[in-house]
Amino acid sequence: MYAIVDCDNCYVSCERVFRPDLNGKPVVVLSINDGCVVARSNEAKALGIKAGLPYYQLKERFPNGEITVFSSNYELYGDITDRVMSLVRKASPTFYRYSIDEGFCDLSGMEHLDLKRWGEDLSAFIWKATRMPVSIGIAPTKTLAKMASHYAKHYPGFKHCCYIDTDERRQKALEQYDIEEVWGIGRRYAARLQSLGVKTALDFASHPESWVRAMLNNVVAIRTWKELNAIDCIPMEDMSKKKSICTSRSFPGMVTDLTALRTSISNFAARCAEKLRKQQSVAQTVCVFIDTNHFREDLPQYWNMGEERLLTPTNSTQQIVQTATRCMERIFRQGYHYKRAGVIAMGISPDTGIQTNFIDYDAERHEKLKRLDEVLDKVNREYGSETLVLGSQQYTKPEGKGKADVFRNSIKHDFRSPCYTTRWSDIPEAE
């Protein structure tokens, strides 16, 4: 049996942890740069606010502050969800975190327990300890568990935990489940299946495997079909091993010059290095991509990717930023309006027992960089991220004078909540 634990309206719920007065009220969280709505409370959903609604339209529709709006605060969401996932991990024999707001448990060996009750209790406990509402789905396969969590989330009768334990329950769950919503069925396949008369998960699961092979001939689709028929076939390892770390962003406007793009790439690379150190690993390869705006058909389009394999794997901010900058400079072409860029760290391995390369390995320099990174992480942990940055990470001020702006100030976040649990300057006050 597998369980998936999924945070309900994750970002909104994180915002409510230290604002319990907002429970039961409409709340939304905006995307990076305050562009559009990315998360909604149930009350906001009930008002017809759709995900992706641009903020200026939201403001037009609700001009009188009927809705509480937050800029995204990933520092807060990261910390709150780490707490939630840590509790889940302690409650089950094997746990794999799948994304910021969901994780899988392998419940093998726990089948003799009342798993429905286990899930209800875990959900209640997580709520008490962290104030995060979670829905739990339990089923013989991960795809069915994901479906069960959907039922747990939308029907209060389940007490936050839906357990698909019998074939009868499985059939019933499949019958009422839209094919589009099935985990592993992309939008394209859903459209194709619908045109073939497949409306629900049951329609899909009831066809013979040979039909699925003939119609879709896609490994993931066949795997999904098996999983819906209670045949466990997605290995746990597939869920957890992050083989790469990516930091990428869409730019608020469009970027045309090399200097501005270099600054953004430096920041993305620095972030990757930080993530690598946080999980105690190193990367062998650094890869950079840049992309123009596909929606602007009136402008010339360009996309490219450049990568460089390091002789010795690293997690040093300096080395990763330098490498990423070199990659970027190789693929940059003048005359395009860039909308999106990113840095990917690949070939990830633990930072213990690094395979050094005698051609470039300089123990003294390695030690120096390590100490520098330790200081960097310490300062940024204590005084907030990006307090200490490399020179190349600084943005030119809007007025064009001096190089003295950091990434977090160059993006809009007019409604950001305090980082209650990750910065001493932001901890809540009590009288």
Binding site: D21, P93, A129, I348, E429, A430, E431
Partner: protein, 152 residues
């Protein structure tokens, strides 16, 4: 379960791992000889282990004002609040009351009469009476108080 693998597997470090506070451990190094103390070497004392009983359920609040001086909680102190600890009559709690956080002593002795009291520990402050009309949400039990005494 294989903890190390999880960390290598890329995305998981427990709160305890990530936030462990190490105090220095002193050892005299005798060059050439293995230290006779090596066998007795122990992990350094960990403040979190002593004070943070439920890391996932704990958070810090900064105290403002003099209302709790009687129990040694001063203006500017940092309290650790724990949502997982059971709360009983007489405990020092953090509560969300009508839009703001407060640190007080919980008094449930008047429950039968339809209200609760949040007691300050300073005669200059009045108790806060909580009845059905108030927004009142308990936010955890205060489990320790921390102060930087270098200023004294």
């Amino acid at each position: 379960m294989d903890e190390k693998k999880l960390i290598d597997g890329a995305d998981y470090i427990t709160l305890e791992d990530a936030k462990r506070l190490k105090l220095p451990y002193f050892e005299q190094v005798a060059a050439g000889f293995p230290s006779p103390a090596a066998d007795y070497q122990h992990e350094s004392l960990d403040m979190n282990e002593k004070f943070v009983h439920h890391p996932e359920a704990s958070y810090f609040v900064r105290v403002k004002g003099e209302s709790m001086t009687g129990v040694g909680i001063l203006d500017g102190d940092i309290c650790l609040a724990d949502r997982q600890e059971e709360i009983a009559d007489g405990n020092i709690v953090v509560a969300f009351v009508n839009g703001g956080l407060t640190v007080k002593i919980l008094d449930t002795s008047t429950k039968e009469q339809g209200f609760l009291r949040l007691l300050p520990a300073n005669p200059a402050y009045p108790p806060i009476i909580i009845d059905a009309n108030d927004q009142f949400i308990l936010q955890g039990k205060v489990t320790s108080v921390h102060r930087d005494t270098r200023k004294y």
